[in-house]
Amino acid sequence: MNDRPVSRQSNKPLSDPPRNTVPAWMVVVGGVPLLLVMLIEFITVVGRNTGFIILGSIELVQAAILLSSASAIVMATLSRSHAKVRILLNRSSGKTAQFLKVFNALGGMLFFLALTIGGVWIALDMWDAQEHSELLRVPYLPLRVFAAVCTLTTAGLYLRRMFVRGPD
């Protein structure tokens, strides 16, 4: 029954983590910036209506959105939640299903690898420019590095998926 490949080190079945299991620390990494966006925007609205204007709130929101959204992409990949058309997947089995799974994972790996290379390329070009936002001087380089780490992790997750069995 169990056709999962076995890890040589641990003799445990090697497979993708079950759907919708995301480590708690990852929820914190993506969730805290999201809650920050929520609070900043809420305080901005309240402040605007009470004469207390917060300068540079959009810059903070943009930085927090990047942290939240880049880690959200990793989480969506980890929990195998990316949207796909299932009309053929649901009707295929055996070797065809395995081929489609490897083919699709290869595509995912190449796409996110290309995004990483593109992101790193620009980060290297801007290395000495010391980019930062206008009002609060939020540095862009660490944000670019964080985004690249997330896309590289996503590419890694697709690479792993190419070599494990189980449903797509």
């Binding site: 919708n20 995301v22 708690a24 929820v27 993506g30 969730g31 999201l34 809650l35 966006v37 929520m38 609070l39 900043i40 925007e41 809420f42 901005t44 609205v45 959009i58 929101v61 943009q62 930085a63 959105i65 990047l66 939240s68 959204s69 880690s71 959200a72 992409i73 990793v74 989480m75 969506a76 929990s79 939640s81 990316h82 949207a83 796909k84 058309v85 299932r86 009309i87 053929l88 997947l89 489609l100 083919f103 699709n104 595509g107 995912g108 190449l110 796409f111 290309a114 995004l115 290379i117 593109g118 992101g119 790193v120 390329w121 620009i122 944000l143 670019r144 985004a147 896309t151 797509d168």
Partner: protein, 434 residues
């Protein structure tokens, strides 16, 4: 011309990759990237990918989506879906077809919290379907009601699909939300007409339930007051231009947190679950947006959309007939592609055609989401049908589809109305956000 042929080949390859089950984001992004490599070269294509990545992930408007999702998950945790259905069922449940009216009304109200068709169908299905079956409603009709009602989640603002459309088509999300109000409410009205017709012509399919006393009704209505006020604040704030959609979403999320806390349903477990669901869903949509923007850049570089736009202008069909043809094509494509894929494939190609025909992109966003919604309830894709079958496995797909057919007919009528009278979508934004 070589660019044009690469555009046609790229679109064909995209269609094949989507059908092969490659994630939508990856299919769009890969075709866009490889296409740009062919047309522009390796270095510009990769640099464009890097630029799109950072520009997309730092877009201020992108905050709208996860915050509305967070609001929806927190409202779900606060049991809002059950409360909406209960209140509607107490008020109209004693009428013939009353629980069906309550289901659609509950879907519309929950749709104002939740921007997803599938989530609305699933959540309301869990609440309304067992109740309707228990009260002697026909399985097929009850399932059809909830499957069709679920599509309201996509149209009634805040809508996830409209946020995605706004970002990829570079249109105001606030205007799109305002434009969706009349089409959303008229869709609810048409569903009510369908229910009334079925309950009148086939009374056995939708029998009346016992009448609730006024005390019970008031109690049920008071229970939804907080969520209802929050929804009204969020929607009116956007429609009247008081706040940006992102700010409105933050008000919604903070309000939902407070409602959860007031109902003693806020704890670390609930918050973690809501954040996780929010991040996973928004992660998949962010990836799709990045892929879609790369595909749009590729299509615009090839000139394919412009050629199609001038073909549409040169033909003597005129805007109404052209849009009827587009609607038929979208409905046919909707048989094999899911809504998101359909929107992302269609937007970069059709948007220039819409502009050339002198039609509004805001109207087009509403039209596209309406066409997508129909795809949610017609086979073979019809994802809402599968969601309902997941909730009630003893009702066969064919019976669910039979129940959804009257609603499907009203949907097609509604889509035609939207084509004939674009003012349905354009009047409110003009009046409220001149």
């Amino acid at each position: 011309m070589p660019e044009l042929s690469s555009g046609i080949i790229g679109t064909t390859v995209l269609f094949v990759l989507l059908l092969a089950g490659m994630p939508i984001a990856v299919s769009l992004g890969l075709v866009g990237l490889v296409g740009l490599v062919f047309v522009l070269g390796f270095e510009p294509a990769l640099i464009k990918a890097g630029v799109v990545l950072i520009e997309t992930l730092t877009r201020y408007e992108l905050g709208t989506l996860p915050l509305f999702l967070l609001m929806a998950h927190l409202c779900s945790s606060a049991n809002a879906s059950r409360d909406f259905f209960d209140a509607a069922a107490r008020v109209v449940g004693h009428k013939r077809g009353g629980l069906a009216f309550a289901s659609v009304g509950g879907c519309a109200a929950f749709g104002a919290v939740n921007g997803s068709s599938l989530a609305t169908a699933a959540t309301m299905g869990l609440v309304a379907l067992p109740e309707m079956r228990k009260r002697g409603y026909s399985d097929s009709f009850a399932a059809g009601c909830v499957a069709a009602g679920g599509t309201l989640g996509q149209m009634i603002p805040p809508s996830g699909a409209l946020i995605v459309f706004g970002i990829i088509a570079e249109q105001s999300i606030g205007k799109l939300f305002t434009a969706a109000l009349i089409p959303g409410l008229s869709q609810v009205f048409l569903y009510f007409v369908v229910i009334w017709l079925v309950a009148t012509l086939r009374p056995a399919m939708a029998p009346p339930s016992e009448r609730s006393g006024w005390g019970q009704r008031m109690k049920a209505l008071l229970r939804i007051l907080d969520v209802l006020l929050l929804v009204l604040l969020v929607i009116s704030g956007i429609a009247l231009g008081w706040v940006t959609p992102t700010e409105a979403a933050s008000i919604g999320a903070v309000g939902a947190l407070l409602i959860c806390a007031r109902r003693k349903r806020l704890n670390l477990k609930t918050l973690r679950a809501a954040l996780q669901e929010t991040l996973v869903t928004s992660g998949l949509i962010y990836a799709v947006i990045i892929g879609s923007i790369l595909f749009s850049v590729f299509i615009s570089v090839t000139g394919l959309a412009e050629v199609m736009a001038s073909m549409a202008t040169d033909s003597s069909l005129g805007p109404v007939a052209t849009m009827m043809v587009v609607a038929v094509i979208l409905l046919l494509l909707g048989s094999v592609l899911d809504g998101l894929a359909l929107m992302l494939l269609a937007t970069p190609i059709l948007l220039p055609i819409i502009s050339n025909l002198g039609l509004s992109p805001i109207w087009f966003g509403i039209f596209l989401v309406r066409a997508m919604e129909i795809g949610f309830i017609h086979p073979p894709m019809g994802l809402n049908l599968y969601v309902i079958q997941g909730i009630a496995p003893d009702i066969s797909l064919s019976r669910i589809f039979k129940g959804v057919v009257p609603f499907l007919m009203s949907d097609i009528f509604h889509l035609v109305l939207l084509i004939l009278f674009p003012i349905m979508a354009l009047w409110l934004p003009e009046v409220m956000q001149p």
